[in-house]
């Protein structure tokens, strides 16, 4: 993947004013209240926020497990709004890889067949499935654990099997929901290292939902959510203590993009290249609410007229009247 290209960025996934509401005990609950963001190919994004902020709902929408109540979701450039259930399933199977907090491996099935599972639904023959599963397991360092069942593996190994399963279909995007949530810190690190290595080497976009600030700090971009809205979307220098990371200059072009005006490639130019920021330093801070609150920590949730402000209804085109 070449860097610093002038071509408009291609999004692995793009959400445009996505809303999602549920009926709960007769009340409408708005879990997402207008999210617009794009995840570029090969990006490494962490999503954080308190419980109930809507990050799981966002994950489900990004993973095509759920449909937005309104708004559009484009996966690999394809609008999923008009897809039927079978179409969504096909998108999940070919474009998305899931990694879950609780691993979600089939207990009676060995590592190899667990990893091969997504390929079953793509009509891949058994022999090829198993070959690809072996390759995926080798990629996560579990080439010696092919015929082990989940119960015979440590938590970290189980999650690596799950990562291999997420990758075996060569998706555009891996969605990891608290992937370290059930692991101790050593295993958590190991799992994150594997995810990051695959992100680096294969250019798979990774979106990580986490409560853990240390985990979130490792991503190149941090999206904070609260009350169904994105309250901050920041490019960050990776807080990676391991010295071998050399990725910084490479990915920032795609990262520096406003969540709202993400479809205008020049929108993020000013944050490109050359920064020599220190560990943990925030390189760029994007407010989701363009004009009223330029500060890095807006509080849009209770603000008046919340609907137009964070949404893409009003893209930040200079001079547009509000």
């Amino acid at each position: 993947m070449s860097t610093d290209t002038q071509a408009p960025p291609t999004y692995a996934i793009e959400a445009v004013d996505v809303r999602r509401s549920y009926a709960m005990d007769g009340m409408q609950v708005e879990a997402l209240r207008g999210i617009t963001l794009g995840i570029a190919e090969g990006e490494y994004v962490a999503v954080t926020g308190p419980s109930g902020s809507g990050k799981s709902t966002l994950m489900h929408l990004l993973g095509a497990l759920d449909r937005p109540s309104s708004g559009r979701l484009l996966i690999g450039g394809q609008d999923t709004t008009s897809l039927d259930d079978a179409g969504l399933a096909r998108v999940r199977g070919s474009e998305i890889g899931f990694v879950f907090q609780s691993f979600q491996l089939l207990a009676r099935t060995d590592a190899q067949d667990n990893v091969a599972l997504p390929l079953v639904y793509r009509g891949v023959g058994r022999t090829e499935r198993r070959q690809r599963a072996v390759a995926a397991l080798e990629a996560v360092g579990l080439g010696h654990r092919l015929s082990h069942r989940p119960t015979q593996l440590s938590g970290g190994e189980q999650q690596r099997v799950a990562i291999a399963r997420a990758l075996v279909g060569e998706p555009r995007l891996v969605l990891a929901d608290e992937p370290t949530g059930n692991l101790d810190s050593a295993n958590g690190h190991e799992v994150l290292n594997v995810l990051e290595q695959l992100n680096r080497e294969r250019g798979v976009a990774v979106v990580l939902v986490t409560h853990d600030a240390d985990v979130a700090a490792r991503a190149n971009r941090l999206i904070r959510m609260r009350d169904g809205l994105v309250v901050a979307d920041e490019i960050q220098r990776r807080q990676e203590s391991r010295g071998e990371q050399e990725v910084q200059g490479r990915r920032t072009p795609q990262l520096a993009r406003t969540p709202q005006g993400g479809r205008t490639p020049q929108g993020g130019r000013e944050t490109d290249g050359g920064q020599e920021a220190q560990h943990g330093q925030v390189l760029a801070i994007r407010s989701p609410a363009p004009s009223p609150s330029p500060s890095p920590s807006p509080t849009p949730s209770r603000s008046p007229a919340p609907t137009p402000s964070p949404s893409s209804d009003v893209p930040d085109i200079p001079g547009q009247p509000r």
Partner: protein, 394 residues
């Protein structure tokens, strides 16, 4: 997902819960086995009865009083022995006409005793019905005219009454009256629990004395070939009806008997199969129930599969194939059990069995159908699960 992938998944799932799978199948196994066994018994009965009726001899017309119908009590016969001559004139041959009266009587010889069907017949009975003798000679025309106390024993009667000696020339007692044995009939074999081998034949004139009657129950005429049966029947009936004004007679042919018995037994078989089919349905409900439990248990698995790209129809297919595999395997086991039981029943009980080729095929088809029927509801429930909610399930 390819269908055979679904089959492999189903096999894995059933293997993972071997005991539960087996217990779930039990209903189907019993249902299918019951269908196979009962149909075999029904079929056996039908085959045996048809055999028996055919064994009566082909081309024979039975003249009986009243309207011939199964289930009605036979009318009191007005027929006389002299009507044999009337029948012989119409048939054009005395050789091919006989008459019968019969009654169940105790036949004894020394300490041995046998409850036999004592038939009073004319001397042509063995010719008309084609009953060859094992030894001795049959009743003669002189025996009939003189009401001789002579008897021809059926094979079973002979072996019971005279286990270690030649019966011919010996004496038996029928109803306390002594008869001399002149012949022993060849064994005919059993048919539907009834056998000609338990009959003893005596002259019809002596039988009338013995039973205290002066009529005969039926007159049997053997047609020279099957084409004549129709005309012969009509002629015989009209001749007798002109003789006995106001009395109805029926000419019963073998095909009529076969047809009527066949109808009755087919109906019986159908009823038996339907009763057994109810247990198959109950087995199907059990399958449905367990499948619903399985869907609930595997909610997370279903959510995961959907997250990994399974479409609704893939999940439906998986569970439907699982249900069908369950009932089909149960069906195969049930067929094995049913065929084995049928063979055992045929070998060790008086009930004859006959496994028609179609009954295992039908039972298998029905069990597959039951799997589809009772698998659809759980499978559709599985297919419709919302992946988000399913993955959240604990």
């Amino acid at each position: 997902m390819k269908p055979w992938e679904a089959l492999r998944l189903a096999a894995d799932a059933l293997r993972a819960n071997r005991l539960r799978s087996l217990l779930t199948m039990v209903g189907v196994i019993i249902g299918v086995a019951a269908v196979v066994v009962l149909v075999a018994i029904g079929g056996g009965a039908k085959a045996e009865v048809e055999n028996e009726v055919e064994g009566l001899g082909s081309n024979i017309v039975f003249i009986v009083p009243g309207k011939f119908q199964f289930g009605t009590t036979p009318s009191l016969s007005p027929l006389r022995l002299s009507d044999v001559q009337v029948a012989a004139r119409i048939a054009g041959s005395t050789q091919d006409v006989t008459a019968v009266v019969d009654s169940g009587e105790n036949v004894t010889a020394g300490q041995n005793s046998f409850f036999a069907t004592v038939q009073g017949v004319t001397q042509n009975f063995d010719v008309v019905f084609n009953r060859p003798l094992a030894e001795g000679s049959y009743l003669t025309s002189a025996d009939v005219t003189t009401s001789a106390r002579v008897v021809v024993l059926g094979a079973n009667v002979a072996s019971t009454l005279f286990p270690n000696e030649d019966p011919v020339g010996r004496t038996t007692a029928i109803d306390g009256v002594s008869f001399r044995v002149v012949g022993v009939a060849q064994a005919q074999g059993s048919a539907f629990g009834v056998t000609q081998d338990s009959n003893v034949d005596i002259p019809i004139t002596e039988a009338q004395l013995l039973f205290g009657i002066n009529t005969v129950q039926s007159i049997e005429v053997k047609a020279q070939n099957p084409d004549q049966i129709g005309a012969l029947s009509t002629d015989l009936v009209s001749a007798l009806q002109s003789e006995y004004t106001g009395v109805q007679f029926s000419a019963v042919t073998q095909s009529q008997i076969l047809g009527t018995i066949g109808k009755i037994l087919s109906l019986l078989t159908l009823v038996l199969a339907a009763i057994a089919g109810i247990s198959l349905l109950v087995g199907g409900v059990g399958v449905s129930n367990i499948m619903l439990v399985g869907v609930r248990e595997r909610t997370r698995e279903i959510g995961l599969r959907k997250a990994l790209g399974a479409r609704q129809r893939d999940v439906v297919l998986q569970f439907l194939v699982e249900a069908v595999t369950l009932t089909a395997v149960g069906g195969v086991i049930g067929i094995g059990l049913g065929v084995g039981t049928s063979a055992a029943v045929g070998a060790f009980s008086p009930l004859p069995t006959n496994i028609a080729w179609w009954s295992p095929a039908l039972a298998f088809g029905v069990s597959v159908f039951v799997g589809v029927l009772f698998g659809v509801v759980p499978a559709r429930r599985a297919g419709r699960l919302d992946p988000v909610a399913a993955l959240r399930t604990d």
